[in-house]
């Protein structure tokens, strides 16, 4: 796993403003059509259907009129793992190296032709971001013609997940090569969900690049594996040290609290510490 592909390291990441998200599901639809995600004849059982991007509904648990709802889109978090060394929960357990951590982009890959379907990675992922192909993909007649040639369709019995639309990065790099440029501009590589979001809740870019919007929004702390310095920003399950590259922003305190697990009284203490730290 110690690959020497460090190079000029990008760290692609996503910031989702939960106060802007309306829960419309555009990101889910855009993702499915962009990435040739198969669907089942009967989609009523959500526990075995595939949505790389899934919108969760959170409530503050209070009754009317204090009740509040938040929609939380959840792609693959592309975890850097403990210490941000690239040993993501899923990458370190895969027995056949079907998934790896790209040190050049920070993206966790999934190679469908290498995966033999042991599903250990699914057990390892606390975000339920990985999906198993319980069935062979079956498309309605004629729809195969509309599949994207840039993303290989998956066969039965393998695991798949969000790739941060890596094929779009490849396409952007192709263009850059042809134009003899070294870098890909921020707007040249954007994920399908980012572009589909009607309320502009999703921002995507290079967390290592101070010019990129994602960096400015969360101000990641390089000494703490990219922990957000923006007090309104948080990452899901920060305490597990999975070090995700997907950040969430919300003005609402209960939403930020829902991002992790806290013992009784811990949240108040953490909040105190955080506000103090930023004074």
């Amino acid at each position: 796993m110690t690959q020497q592909n460090h190079g000029n390291a990008h760290k692609f990441g996503m910031v989702i403003d939960l106060d802007k998200c309306t829960g419309c599901g555009s990101c889910m639809v855009a993702c499915m059509s962009e990435n040739n995600v198969p669907f089942k004849e009967d989609e009523s059982n959500k526990k075995d259907s595939i949505t790389w991007m899934r919108v969760y509904k959170l409530t503050n648990g209070k009754s009317f009129p204090d009740t509040d709802v938040c929609y939380l889109p959840r792609p693959c978090m592309h975890c850097g793992g403990k210490g941000d060394h690239g040993h993501s929960p899923c990458v370190s357990v895969c027995p056949a190296t079907a998934t790896d951590y790209d040190y050049g982009t920070g993206i966790v890959s999934q190679i469908y032709t290498r995966c033999f379907g042991c599903r250990y990675c699914m057990g390892a992922c606390p975000y339920h971001a990985r999906f198993f192909n319980w069935w062979d993909p079956k498309w309605p007649e004629g729809m195969e013609e509309y599949l994207s040639p840039d993303v290989s369709p998956r066969m039965r019995g393998v695991v798949e997940k969000c790739s941060f639309c890596f094929h779009r990065y490849q396409a952007a790099k192709d263009k850059a090569y042809l134009e003899e440029r070294d870098t890909v501009a921020e707007e040249e590589y954007q994920t399908a969900c980012t572009q589909a979001c009607p309320s502009g809740a999703i921002t995507f870019g290079d967390l290592n690049n101070p010019d990129h919007a994602v960096h400015q929004l969360v101000n990641p702390d390089p000494h703490h594996c990219g922990r957000p310095r923006n007090p309104k920003a948080f990452r899901l399950l920060e305490r597990l040290e999975t070090n995700p590259k997907v950040y969430y922003i919300s003005e609402r305190e209960w939403v930020r609290k829902a991002g992790d697990n806290y013992l009784d009284g811990e949240w108040e203490k953490a909040k105190m510490k955080k506000t103090k730290g930023h004074e």
């Binding site: 929960p89 027995p95 056949a96 042991c118 057990g123 393998v158 399950l237």
Partner: protein, 412 residues
């Protein structure tokens, strides 16, 4: 009819009775094979597993049979390496049980993977940092050790033994058995452990995650120790069952009691370690990740704190106390109770470390997930049991599995 194959001086039931019994179990076996075929041909959608339950009944069965099959490596270690000679009277049984358990485990793994034809990737494209890779390698290697240990017993069949080559081979393999047994024990330590590591390394799953030594989480050592401790319980249980079915005494009490005593002390030490591990997990590990222990045992229809109590007290402390106390151990009813509780206890531990791990929600807004296995899963899980019964019956009938059988039958 088959009297020429039955060990000399041994008394076996008439062939038609035997054949009927095998046929009845065979029907169950075929049912399992049918379900297995369905899973291979139609895919894992035949199961009730889902994206929350990537590891389900099979993996539990896999871990459970390997744990209870641990009697083979541990008894082998005691007999061949540490030289406790009385155990030669039960080692054959332990080896056959081990062989059955491990071949079943390999079969289950072959059914469980989504792309069975790519199963060899785990060897060819191995990620050596994955606990599952370690499991696969050690499991296959240890299975070959068990096969080597099983061969001499097969060669002792009355007709096979008459062939000079086989007779000598059996003799020579016995001579070298200490080497094989030691290798087996070495392999077993690692694969029992790595099975424990499978859950223990999941740092995204606070219910399963444990700190540890170097790359090995504490569950690594707990699994090895518990397999060595409870494996002999299962060997004894099977011995009791065979004795019950054949209505014969096959192993002398002193051998049974010796193994029971060793098992008892192993369980005692294991359960002490398990309790320490649990306390540390409750007091340090889980809170550091934002969980109080009751988060893992409330808000759902099945997993209450009873499961922790059942595992540690009923499946651990109770059998340990019975087995280490001479008076209780030598009372046959108490002994039976203890070994049954022990086997259930270790199976429950494996259940918790597979299924409850998957069921506990981690994200604060997620919910518990429970699942009920489909009949195909149940059938494929029963398949190894039926196969085991048949193999054990054949081995008992045609091989001199119990060296004390003759002596005990004439005593009567």
């Amino acid at each position: 009819m088959d009297s020429a194959l039955i060990p000399k001086g041994a008394n076996r039931c008439p062939f038609p009775v035997f054949a009927t019994g095998i046929a009845v179990v065979g029907v169950v076996l075929l049912w399992g094979v049918y379900a297995m075929g369905l899973c291979w041909i139609k895919g894992l959608n035949q199961t009730n597993m889902n994206d929350y339950y990537g590891f389900a009944l099979w993996i539990w069965a896999d871990l459970a049979v390997i744990a209870i099959g641990g009697g083979a490596f541990f008894t082998g270690l005691l007999k061949y390496v540490l030289g406790i000679d009385e155990l030669k009277n039960i080692i054959n049984l332990a080896v056959v049980i081990g062989f059955i358990c491990y071949s079943s485990a390999l079969l289950i793994l072959a059914i469980d993977i989504g792309q069975p034809l790519r199963g060899w990737f785990i060897f060819w494209h191995a990620n050596v940092h994955s606990m599952l890779t370690e499991v696969a390698f050690c499991l296959s290697l240890y299975f070959s050790v068990l096969t080597i240990e099983f061969i001499p017993l097969i060669l002792e069949n009355r007709q096979v033994d008459k062939v000079p080559f086989f007779h000598n081979l059996s003799h020579n393999m016995h001579t070298a058995m200490a080497v094989f047994a030691a290798t087996g024990a070495f392999l077993s330590c690692f694969h029992q452990g790595s099975l424990g590591g499978v859950a223990g390394v999941l740092y995204g799953r606070p219910f399963a995650f444990r700190e540890g030594l170097l790359i090995w989480p504490w569950t690594f050592f707990l699994f090895t120790w518990s397999a060595a401790a409870y494996g002999p319980c299962f060997t004894l249980l099977v011995a009791k069952m065979v004795e019950g079915i054949t209505r014969k005494k096959l192993i002398k009490d002193n051998v049974i009691h010796l193994l029971a005593k060793i098992s008892g002390w192993m369980i005692t030490t294991y359960i002490v370690a398990k309790i320490i591990d649990t306390i540390y997990w409750i007091a340090v590990t889980a809170p550091s990740l934002g969980f109080s222990v009751m988060d893992f045992y409330t808000d759902n229809a099945f997993y209450g704190i009873w499961i922790l109590f059942a595992e540690i007290v009923l499946g651990g402390i109770v059998p340990a106390v019975i087995l280490i106390t001479k008076k209780y151990r030598e009372n046959s009813k108490m002994l039976l109770l203890a070994i049954i509780l022990g086997v259930l206890g270790v199976c429950l531990n494996r259940w918790v470390m597979v299924l409850q791990v998957m069921a506990v929600p981690v994200m604060s807004f997620d919910t518990w997930a429970l699942y009920i296995p489909s009949w195909q899963e149940v059938a494929t899980t029963i398949l190894p049991v039926a196969y085991g019964i048949i193999l054990l019956a054949l081995a008992y009938r045609y091989l001199p599995m119990f060296p004390q059988e003759k002596e005990l039958s004439t005593e009567k």
